[in-house]
Structure formats: C-alpha cells, structure tokens
Amino acid sequence: MQDFLKIEQLDKRFVADRPVFADVSFNIAQGEFVCIIGHSGCGKTTILNVLAGLDQASGGHVYMNNREVVGPSLDRGVVFQSHALMPWLTVRKNIAFAVSSRWPEWKAPKVNVHVEKFVEMVGLRHAIDQKPSQLSGGMKQRVGIARAFAIQPRMLLLDEPFGALDALTRGTIQDELMSIVRETQQTVFMITHDVDEAILLADRILLMHNGSDTPNGYVPGGLSESVTNTLPRERTRAGLHHLPGYYELRNHIVDFLVSRAHVGPAH
C-alpha cells in the first residue's frame, strides 16, 4: 500500500518547553479510514488543522503523495465540527459554491446535476432549496458531508463531525457515511470521542495521550498506539457488538482512555 499521507515528527508548542504534542508520526494509505481518539487537549484538532493547512505545526512535516503540505487545498476536504454552512445560501447553493470552486469551468447545469447527485447521496433531496436555518442539526451536518464529498477530494478530514448530534441521529448518519466511504473508496482521517463510532468506521485507530507532568519532568502528548481494526469490513452498526473480537478491541481502547491517556507513553 502506497503511503499516501506521511506525517513525520509533528510538534506543536505554545510555550517553548512544554509542547502540546511532540514526535507524532504516522502514515495513511490510500483508501484507508483512520480515526484518532484521545482526551480533550491532547491536540487532535490541531493535528487535523495542520493536515488541512489551516494551522502550522511548530515542527515536523506533512507529506501528501510525496509533496509537502503547506496550505489548504481542494485535495484535502474538511467537514467541520459545526457544519460551517453559509446561512445566506440554500443547501443547493452551498454545495454549488464548493463545486464551482473545484471546477470553475463547469457551467450551471453541469454543476446542478453534480450537486443533486450528492444531495441525493445524503438523503436531503426534499430540502435542497432550503436555507440552513430551516434545517435540523443532523441535516446541516449531512449537508456539510455532502459538500465535502462533492469536491471529490483526495483525502477527507472530519473534525468530530457528529459531536453535536443526538445519539439517534448520529447512528443514522454513521451508517450513511460508512456506505458512502465504502462506495467511493475515500481516504478519511477522522477525530472522534466515541469508541463505538471508531470501531464501526475505522480501519485503523490511533490512540493519543495528553501531555502531563511526571516526576521525571513534563512529558508532551503524542501517539501511544496504532490499533488495527481486525473486525470484518462488512460490518453494520446493528450487528457490531455481535462480531467476535469486538469486546476485546473495545475494552482495549476504553482501558487506554481511562488509565493511560492522561499519563504518558511510559505506562
């Protein structure tokens, strides 16, 4: 598997000798779905912002397809935690804005056909000409997802996209996301707090620990472990907990979050 995305020794510090995280290195292969899990403050969103080009690391490099990442790009689509839809535009126009940014030479009818395809994909055909204020939270987030997929980016970055949704809506959209990703073979990097969500969606789960003060001095945050999801790829939310290996995987991650995530890698 070609190393599509290479992150090497990423480091972020606001105070000179206490980096939020340091020595973060991992790779993502094309078509892989990688989730990162960790407590608040470990720097997950910062890593995502650096990958998106919206923020700069204090040290280290990010390479996509062997080219260094220096700024935002259409190759790396983002779904923000708070949908970030433009409230003065309808759903159709919001997605069309993204599509015209990607393919400025396309004329309106072609853009429209493309937009409608992706709106259909997230099941919002009936709401396509409504403004975001007329939509529920779940619908808005779906539009955000449709917008990100519509530009057909090389890589999709999702920053806790379902964090603001209720459990029922979250479940439905997780299913939708999973089927879309399977169908499009999209490479995805997602931040989440939800262990079950990570086990459902991800091929690989990165566990991140926070920076902490130990008797030996300050230990910066970083990646503790990369856990491969051994469950069969054709899994569903409904049948997830029946699959063999599910509870081992889940317990492992929860154990990490409860005991190891706060206290650094040595433990």
């Binding site: 259409l74 790396r76 403004k131």
Partner: protein, 287 residues
C-alpha cells in the same frame, strides 16, 4: 390585522386626535386679527396697514395657525404640487425633488467611497489602526461647519450642499462596513480557504454577503443623517429645496407653510428609512 397591531393602531389614532384637539384649543382665541375683510376698509386704510406690515390680504398668519388654516394650506400645496412661478415660488414636489436629488447624489458618492474603503480597513488590522485617528477626528465635525470651507473652494452652492451630504454620510457607512467585514465568522473563511477560493471571489461571495446586514445598517443610519443635514444645509445656502422652502416661508412669516414643510420633511424621512429597512431585511440571514 392581529390584536396587538390593531390595538396599537387605535392608540396611535387616538394620540393623533388628542394632539389635534390640543392644537385646536390652543389656537381658538387667536381667530381675530388684522387679517380682516379688506372690503370694509378704504383704500387708504389698506395702504396704511400694508405699510405697517399688516397686509390684510396676505397669507401671513397672526399667532399660531389654527387647524382650518393648516387644512387650507395643506390642500393648496397638495392640489398643485408641481408649479414653478419663479425662484421663490415653486411647487412642493419640485422643492422635494431638488432636496432628494442632492441627498441621493451625496449619499451615492459617500457609499462609493465608504464601502470599498471600509472593506479594506476591515480586512487589514494595520490599515484600521492607521486610519483610525483620522476617522475619529473627522467624524464629530458638524457637516455645517464644513460649509464655509466648501463654499470657498467649491464656490457653487448646490455642489457644496452635495459635498456636505457626502462628508456626513460617509462615516456611519465606513465604520459599519469595516466592522461587518472584520466580524465575518472565522469558520466561513476557513471553508473558503479549504476550497482554495481566490481573494476576489472570497470578498464577493463570502465576506460581502456575511457583512451585508451590518453594511446596510450603516447605510440606513447614514441616510437618516443625510436627510437631517440637507434641510439644515439648504436653510443656510438657499436656492431650492425643502430646507430653503422652510427658511423662505419663515422669512415671509407664513407659519402654516413652515409647519406644512416640517410635516413633509418628517414623512419623507420616514419613507426613506422604511425603504432602507426593506433592503436590510432582504439581506438579513438567520444563523
């Protein structure tokens, strides 16, 4: 019409009738005055009265006008609004047209300067700090204080009037545009960054619609100030316009005309504000 609106309208009408009632009572004793029937006097008596400044046939009123006198004046103006009998005697709509023309021109010029400059200032903290002292010093200067300078350099009184409108309308629009542009939500700017949107397209498609409600609020305030100022400016400078009309009728001691003009000024001001309120509503969005 729902119950609240209905009750409110009713109270408005009652207040209006109350005011008319008070007016009527206050002007009741003054009906007798020198404006008496000239047919009962000899030619010499009429001539004498005119010399004393008490022309019995003139429109000049003695004391505060009564409601009937107001009604007559209003009817006279409204029934023949577009006549032109010379420099001191034009129909009310013609005077209004002159004033609105000056306001319109001054306002548009101010908008053409304020909105782009406000945009640039809003997007650049450096320029905002650089321009700030000038804005703060020039903003409080009464537009009428600019008049002598304008008249001296521009010389033409009509263009001076337009300049004065310009210099007073520019500040609210400039400040509001800068504020609106600077307050555009970070996440929308992030979205346009990840979509690799060019700076021009971003300014037109993201920043402008996001800041539009604030910009239009600035325009609405500017328009209110401009209308206020044009009346005062015209009083000072004269020629044509509703402000000049007020001052001229004051010099003729024709209070009914003055009051009528005041009413017109108020109503036109209200209509202008309503027009901008509509525009503001059109660009407002709900988050």
């Amino acid at each position: 019409m729902n119950s609240l609106n209905f009750k409110a309208r009713l109270i408005s009408v009652l207040i209006f009738l109350l005011c008319l009632g008070v007016w009527s009572l206050a002007t009741m004793e003054r009906k007798v005055g020198p404006g008496q029937n000239p047919a009962g006097m000899t030619a010499e008596q009429v001539e004498y009265l005119k010399m004393m400044g008490k022309d019995p046939g003139s429109t000049k009123t003695n004391g505060f006008p009564t409601l009937t006198q107001m009604g007559e004046t209003i009817w006279k103006h409204v029934s023949d609004p577009v006549y032109d009998n010379g420099p001191n005697d034009k129909g009310i709509l013609i005077q209004l047209a002159h004033s609105l023309g000056r306001v319109g021109l001054g306002f548009v010029l101010a908008a053409l300067v304020a909105v782009p400059l406000g945009f640039v200032i809003g997007m650049s903290p450096l320029l905002r700090l650089a321009f700030d002292p000038f804005i703060q010093v020039l903003k409080p200067i009464s537009p009428l204080a600019w008049m002598p300078l304008a008249l001296y350099t521009i010389k033409d009184s009509s263009i001076s009037g337009i300049f004065v409108i310009f210099i007073c309308s520019v500040w609210p629009m400039l400040i509001n545009t800068a504020f609106g542009v600077a307050s555009v939500k970070r996440e929308w700017l992030n979205v346009s960054a990840t979509l690799e949107v060019s700076p021009l397209r971003r300014a037109w498609c993201v920043i402008l619609p996001a800041a539009a409600p604030t910009i239009l609020t600035g325009m609405r305030i500017s328009m209110g100030i401009a209308w206020l100022v044009i009346v005062a400016a015209e009083m000072l400078v004269g020629g044509t316009g509703i402000g000049y009309f007020v001052w001229n009728e004051w010099n003729n001691l024709s209070l009914t005309n003055v009051i009528f003009a005041i009413g017109v000024i108020g109503i036109v001001g209200m209509l202008l504000d309503m027009a901008f309120a509509r525009l503001q509503q059109a660009v407002t969005y709900v988050e």
